[in-house]
């Protein structure tokens, strides 16, 4: 569970801290352009690092500096608690004069306050607590160190942290692009979830029991759902079909022919199954209400909130009244940006709204 996320000089986020400690679910609200999605983009950088992308140019570019202010480093800090341990990871990128690609200014991973490694530009100091192992070495300053430091075992805190970070679900689904085809198995879907088929295959290969959770959720929404098949239709190639049945017969529908909303239900089902099977996970879902019928929005959001209540963390953004109403004062944060030339500020709702939040949002009363 993330306790603290700090972002500095990244796009519209300056000295921005998201206080997530103690919240199993959080809602970010605010006008268009206020920086809600940018928070997920910052998390995505950390996710990419943990998934193995270490070339700085593939993570951040000079245009990511706030208003082009390249004399100040971009800084990302995350503090999370997992299995009774606290992990802190810091990475800062700078663009010295004459450079075209950013380089690492500082990097640090600590567990329970003890550094696993620290880094100052190219110099890395590896100091694994409890193992009396210390090492100093140089690394290309255009590469992040986290993906290339070898963990000693699957119980190594370095492995646990990287795996947790890599498995974060950062979701901005584009249902029209999701076909249900796959030629691999994996547990780490991309943000648009265009690899849904591979995620489905990976999840069921990892934990076949996850299907019961998926099935249970989907049947509540689609009582005529019979099952989901994922047959091999070519060499290393599968394609999802969804079967529906009632007293009139059975209908088999290729996954790609489901409606956009139905695909979102499928993604939600996999999210619930994934958190159950290989969680606790962090799930950041940008506007989970997109594509859904009004009568479903509240149930959809509450299903996610309820799942992460028992482990993991769910962060949503939304403009939808039905979604907004499913959160409370203490776990709703308002992001405000007075103009494109000013940074995003975060305001806890409990301090500024007395009464109906949705009306206040509609009337624009919350922002100066």
């Amino acid at each position: 569970m993330i306790r603290r996320l700090y972002i500095h000089n990244f796009r519209c986020l300056e000295n921005f801290e998201l206080p997530l400690a103690g919240h199993s679910s959080v809602l970010l609200v605010g006008k268009n352009g206020s920086g809600k999605t940018t928070v997920s983009l910052a998390l995505e950088i950390l996710q990419k690092i943990a998934r193995g992308t270490n070339r700085i140019g593939a993570l951040v570019t000079p245009k990511d500096f706030t208003r082009g202010r390249s004399d100040v480093p971009i800084r990302l800090e995350i503090e999370m608690a997992l299995e009774a341990r606290v992990y802190e990871y810091i990475v800062a990128f700078e663009l010295p004069e004459g450079f075209k690609e950013l380089r690492v200014l500082q990097e640090r991973l600590a567990v329970d306050g003890r550094p696993v490694y620290t880094r100052d530009k190219a110099q890395v100091h590896l100091a694994r607590a409890g193992q009396n192992q210390e090492a100093k070495f140089l690394i290309d300053w255009h590469l992040v160190a986290l993906p290339i430091i070898q963990e000693s075992s699957t119980s190594d805190p370095l492995f646990i942290f990287k795996q947790w970070l890599a498995r974060m679900l950062i979701l901005r689904p584009v249902p029209g692009l999701i076909s249900g085809d796959s030629n691999e198995e994996q547990l780490q879907p991309n943000t648009q979830v265009t690899d849904f088929g591979a995620w489905f295959s990976g999840l069921l290969a990892y934990s076949p029991a996850a299907y019961s959770r998926i099935d249970q959720y989907l049947r509540e929404i689609m009582p005529d759902l019979k099952d989901i098949k994922n047959p091999v239709i070519g060499k290393d190639f599968r394609s999802l079909t969804v079967q529906f049945s009632n007293q009139n017969g059975t209908l088999s529908v290729p996954f790609e022919d489901l409606s956009d909303g139905e695909k979102c239900f499928m993604i939600c089902a996999l999210t619930l199954g994934a958190n159950n099977a290989y969680g606790p996970l962090l799930c950041f879902w940008d506007e989970p209400d997109n594509y859904l019928a009004l009568s479903e929005v509240g149930h959809f959001v509450m299903a996610l909130r309820r799942e992460f209540e028992s482990g993991g963390q769910f962060i949503a953004t939304s403009h939808n009244p039905e979604a907004v109403r499913r959160f409370s004062e203490e776990n709703t944060f308002l992001l405000v940006r007075k103009s494109h030339l000013e940074p995003t500020t975060l305001r806890p709702l409990a301090q500024i709204v007395k009464g109906d939040l949705v009306s206040a949002l509609v009337q624009g009363d919350l922002e100066p």
Binding site: E220, H299, M302, E309, R325, E329, G355
Partner: protein, 76 residues
């Protein structure tokens, strides 16, 4: 399938935002069939709750039951 008049379900009609938030907390209970419960938008006062109930929901209750949360502290 969400709540509808052809299936047993519960409507929660909150008086105000505090009651809405209480209902949300209740819906997080893992043993609840939360899809059978729909929390409606708050109506802004106890008298409004009664008015809404009578005008919009009292007829054709059928398989529907209502919860009208009352904040007793305010009645004291």
């Amino acid at each position: 399938m969400s709540v509808n008049k052809y299936r047993p379900h519960v409507y929660v009609l909150p008086e105000d935002d505090a009651n809405r938030q209480l209902a949300n907390g209740f819906l997080l209970h893992p043993d609840l069939l939360a899809r059978n419960i729909q929390v409606l938008p708050e109506v802004g006062g106890w008298h409004e709750v009664l008015d809404h109930f009578k005008s919009d929901y009292a007829n054709g209750m059928g398989l529907r039951q209502h919860v009208l949360p009352i904040l007793f502290a305010r009645l004291a």
